[in-house]
Symmetry: C2
Subunit: 328 residues, 2 copies
DNA sequence: TATTAGCACTTGAAAATTAGTAGTGCTAAT
DNA sequence: ATTAGCACTACTAATTTTCAAGTGCTAATA
């Protein structure tokens, strides 16, 4: 456990470093406390001993270690009041009822991204209790048709499919079967229902049943897959830690790899969670702050990615605010 | 007009510079020609006089000027045979008939982007002679419904709209009217037909006709707007001309600004056009090679963006190949 | 016992110097 | 018309110098 003064010093160093990005020396700290720089140096040495601070070289000021950030986040940081101006801008987005939820999220995270110069991610998908409302087919020509799938929350997905040698009538039959038998089913159970309830039946009615089944199966599979939106990628270039091409290429490569992102960013926890450096799966150089959100329509993850030297309390407050606002 | 030897030298310098990215000296050239470096130097001086070459400093080798590239492109470059391996990879994409045209384009340009380390852009929109096939509404709850618009080529767009105090019956009436009166209309004439043929009529049937009209008007307006896809943005980071953060920020900022991109990239010419440096509206530092494509479903622009020191003949050949393949 | 003044020492960053090299233009000879 | 030869230029990379920021330790102090 840290003494009161050690806590103060650690906190000062971290907040200072967060905004200056330069190692913090004892002189700066001792002005804030009523003691000499020598005293501060002694304390700094202890904090370094504890693994909470680091030096960049023997005679440099101190920089927080990952453990230091972790301690700050767990014990020292106190939630910041949301700046009135920021709140106002966000509220304007939330109050625009024209916007669909996903757009609303993207817009507000874009705003946050611009305000903070971090990168945001919106990862969304149909909610688990989203139910199939209806499916519909529209023939285009003899071989091609559009399948449209609608959920009870108004999410629509469409796909153009090619079905050769299958009569429109057979397709309509299949569609009717689906509409009769599995409408109302939660979207992520549709695939199995399709397999166990529809597949055995259409064999009797439909000549090319294997092909038809596969087509619909594919449509639903695409439907339930997640979508991802990475917002304000360029803002991160303003961070001094991304000042060389190697790092930029590296992080941009990762941010652009949707599959990897979905795997690494998806969050199952409903609280705001903070993953510092090695704690996150995306990149050792960054911190990811994220949370799961869910509304009646939809659920997913919103995340902010920035350098470890991140304005933790501000980001947490902003994410909390967004989460609250979209969930109602 | 250049002498034969001047042409040779200019061409050698440009091709060499394109692949080395370093100023080209007289020694390198004289080995290719049967003459001394001094002779080459004299010729280089003339070419510089003509504005086709430049020096980076008094005693440096030569670098092509924009005018030099232009001369190369207009007079010196001869179309390259498409490399067998490249062609094979592209053909695999084109032969995958599962893919919709837009995806096919995006995939092949992604491939080109990875092969060349330039950035590609697919700018697409419904073709002018795309026709409205049908519209459809699906009610979600009392206030919300989904409008689905389908064209004869299988392009589908949907939008969730909120219509308070409007009965489902009234909406259905409007939909039927649209389906009766303007199905078959080219998509970019729909808006005006909506205004002059539907608007006057629904006033009689529908109580909140103003609101209903506006809703549908908005849906079609969204539908006909263009979409843009910038592919392989990160590859351009491998180009030595983008080796400082400023330039990266600058070009990425531009590439991310969709509106600006649509304005600056859209090409109306059916040939492959080359815009070098100041000739293009996107960025002085780059060259844009682009062409308009049109298939029966769709038309738009495909473009490649790279440094002025671009592998012109290769890119032209690749673009030509893609254009040919998608247009059939 | 905790704090602090003071000083020697370390290191990196920036500026200045040096050395080397790739290339030029010009002149005079072929 | 071409070319050998040479003086000259300016960049690049390496090295050195200078400077400031900051440390750790010791000894004095409250």
């Amino acid at each position: 456990m840290l003494t009161e003064r050690q806590s103060q010093i650690l906190k000062l160093i971290i907040t200072e470093y967060i905004q200056s990005a330069r190692p913090v020396g004892s002189n700066l700290i001792c002005k804030e406390l009523n003691c000499s720089s020598a005293t501060v140096r002694n304390e700094m040495a202890s904090l370094e001993e504890l693994g909470l601070l680091e030096k960049t070289h023997t005679s440099s000021g101190r920089v927080p270690s990952e453990k230091g950030y972790r301690y700050y986040v767990d014990h020292l940081m106190k939630p910041k009041e949301l700046n009135g101006e920021d709140m106002l801008k966000l509220q304007i987005i939330f109050n625009n009822h024209q916007l669909e939820l996903t757009d609303c999220l993207s817009e507000s995270l874009k705003l946050i991204s611009d305000m903070t110069n971090y990168t945001s991610i919106v990862l969304g998908g149909a909610s688990h209790d989203n139910k199939l409302k209806e499916i519909n087919v529209i023939p285009i020509d003899t071989d091609n048709l559009i399948v449209i799938v609608v959920t009870d929350t108004g999410h629509v997905e469409n796909k153009k499919v090619t079905l050769k040698n299958v009569s429109l009538e057979e397709i309509k039959k299949t569609v009717n079967l689906i509409n009769d038998l599995i409408v109302g089913t939660p979207i992520d159970e549709v695939s199995s229902k399709l397999e166990f309830e529809i597949k055995p039946i259409i064999g009797r009615y439909v000549k090319e049943h294997e092909m038809v089944y596969n087509t619909f199966y594919q449509v639903f599979k695409d439907f339930s897959s997640k979508n991802i939106n990475v917002v304000g990628k360029n803002n991160i270039l303003k961070q001094p830690e991304f000042n060389n091409i190697e790092k930029i290429r590296d992080i941009f490569g990762k941010l652009d790899n949707n599959e990897e992102m979905i795997n690494n960013i998806t969050e199952e926890n409903n609280d705001i969670k903070i993953y510092i450096g090695k704690e996150n799966k995306l990149d050792e150089e960054v911190t990811v702050i994220k949370t799961k959100y869910h509304t009646k329509d939809q659920e997913g993850t919103i995340a902010i990615v920035g350098p470890k030297r991140m304005d933790y309390d501000r980001v947490v407050t902003l994410l909390e605010f967004i989460k609250e606002n979209i969930e109602k």
